[in-house]
């Protein structure tokens, strides 16, 4: 029942607003004169490389493997560079993320052939340490961050992907639809489900009971 209501709601939505947000297809844009290689490399560095942190964070949450993520992102950046001539200025970030996502899907954990080291927490958070905090507060903050990170890593991939793209990378619904290749309505319902799972895990549980009664309905 809920499913059907949701579905119709989404249909109405796409009629009302989202139709105008669909990314322009590449073919409808007039091809620009092809720039020189040096120009291309320069443009690539300017428009794509600033999104390296986001690309790596996305890969980390999709693969859940720090070593593999580096390989995947390097591979994705190379592919992006080779395809950059065809890039026609929609959202460079969404474009790069779509490539990263594809690379994550084809990468199998454990094929990097390298030793996966357990990241020591100091290395993971050291660069973001807040000098205003006492060591105890800092330790507590890092616990909290680890908790949030593990909770995100624990939810199933389609929901994890939607939440990471929206709440961490702050992509618009239209961009998420572009990256994940699903309709906007699916993006919305994945986000809602992913967030419900995370809220249950991370927020105080005064609503646990009603949460359960709802899912039974």
């Amino acid at each position: 029942m809920r499913q059907r209501i949701g579905h119709e709601l989404v249909k109405t939505f796409s009629l009302m607003r989202f139709a105008t947000l669909r990314p322009t297809s590449a073919s409808s844009v007039t091809a620009l004169p092809s720039p020189s290689d040096a120009e291309l490399a320069h443009n690539f560095q300017r428009t794509i490389l600033p999104h390296l942190d986001g690309a790596y964070s996305l890969a980390r949450y999709l693969t859940r493997d720090p070593v593999l993520s580096e390989d995947v992102v390097q591979d994705a950046v190379l592919r992006a560079y080779r395809a950059f001539g065809q890039f026609r200025g929609e959202s460079p970030r969404a474009w790069l993320f779509a490539i990263v996502r594809n690379c994550c899907r084809s990468a199998q954990p454990g094929t990097s052939g390298r030793v996966t080291l357990v990241a020591d927490p100091e290395a993971a958070f050291g660069d973001q340490a807040d000098p205003a905090l006492t060591p105890e507060q800092e330790a507590q903050r890092q616990d909290e961050i680890s908790g949030v990170r593990s909770a995100i890593e624990a939810i199933p991939e389609p929901f994890r992907e939607a939440v990471v793209l929206r709440d961490l990378e702050e992509l618009s619904y239209a961009e998420i639809a572009q990256v994940t290749g699903v309709p906007m309505g699916t993006v919305m319902s994945r986000l809602a489900r992913g967030r419900a799972m995370l809220a249950k895990e991370l927020l105080p549980t005064k609503e646990t009971e009603s949460e359960q009664s709802r899912s039974v309905k």
Partner: protein, 248 residues
């Protein structure tokens, strides 16, 4: 008390600022009179703030940035060299010949060539599957592995207790010589220690393309450690390595 099922997606859209004015007004009016949806909205906002906390998002590690910055296809300098217009090629050949001649006749100038090769070997070794031919944390496996592959025996101390666990070894080639490459880790960073036979005496620390290089000579061998670690940490590596291998 729980949110109304038909409002769930709209509440998300409201928090995300993705609703148009008409829908925003409808949902806000509903939230004003529905306690369940109000609570749900608060939870969504609390969750969003939690997810946005600094540190939840991963930042690209320096090693990745360095790999991308030095990748021959991505670095614009390298890209230009690889795709020269045809008319430039003969000129370039001349320039290469001239610089080769310089290198040949001025041995002092060749050291920077060695450093460039050290860095490119280091970067190449970080590609998937290239880091180690013998992958082990045991010095008793790495050391004999080099026997019969090279005509010298590089020291392979275990440095895990000082924060540089041994990861393995492989053969590499620097300046046309076959060299031993011993691989250590430091947190998520990799240290490649290249060792080859060289009677000269040399001691220097440099930074090439953002990679730290620390070179020294000992017992007829030349050592060159390359890493994306900072020069200070690489110096620490050298000190620990020399301490472990003893004075010679």
């Amino acid at each position: 008390m729980s949110a109304c099922a038909d409002q769930e997606l709209l509440l998300g859209g409201l928090v995300d600022g993705e609703l148009d004015a008409a829908h925003t007004a409808i949902v806000e009016a509903h939230v004003a009179r529905c306690e369940g949806c109000r609570e749900e909205l608060e939870r969504l906002e609390a969750l969003r703030n939690l997810l946005k906390s600094d540190g939840v998002r991963h930042a690209a590690p320096d090693s990745l940035k360095a790999r991308i910055a030095t990748h021959p296809e991505l670095a614009p300098r390298a890209a230009n060299e690889n795709r020269l217009p045809n008319w430039l090629a003969p000129g370039l050949a001349g320039a290469v010949a001239a610089s080769l001649a310089l290198v040949t006749f001025l041995p002092a100038a060749s050291s920077s060539v060695v450093e460039e090769q050290l860095v490119s070997s280091h970067v190449r070794s970080l590609q998937p599957g290239h880091l180690t031919d013998v992958q082990t944390t045991s010095q008793h496996i790495v050391k004999p592995w080099f026997n019969g592959r090279i005509d010298f025996a590089p020291p392979v101390p275990e440095l895990a207790d000082v924060g540089f666990p041994l990861a393995g070894g492989r053969l590499d080639s620097i300046n046309g010589k076959t060299v031993a490459a011993i691989v250590y880790h430091r947190r998520l960073h990799t240290v490649n220690l290249f060792v080859w036979r060289d009677d000269g005496s040399l001691e220097k620390a440099t930074v090439e393309d953002g990679f730290a290089i620390n070179e020294w000579s000992s017992g007829g061998l030349r050592f060159a450690a390359v890493s994306d670690l900072g020069p200070a940490e690489l110096k620490l590596f050298r000190q620990e390595f020399q301490r472990a291998t003893g004075p010679s």
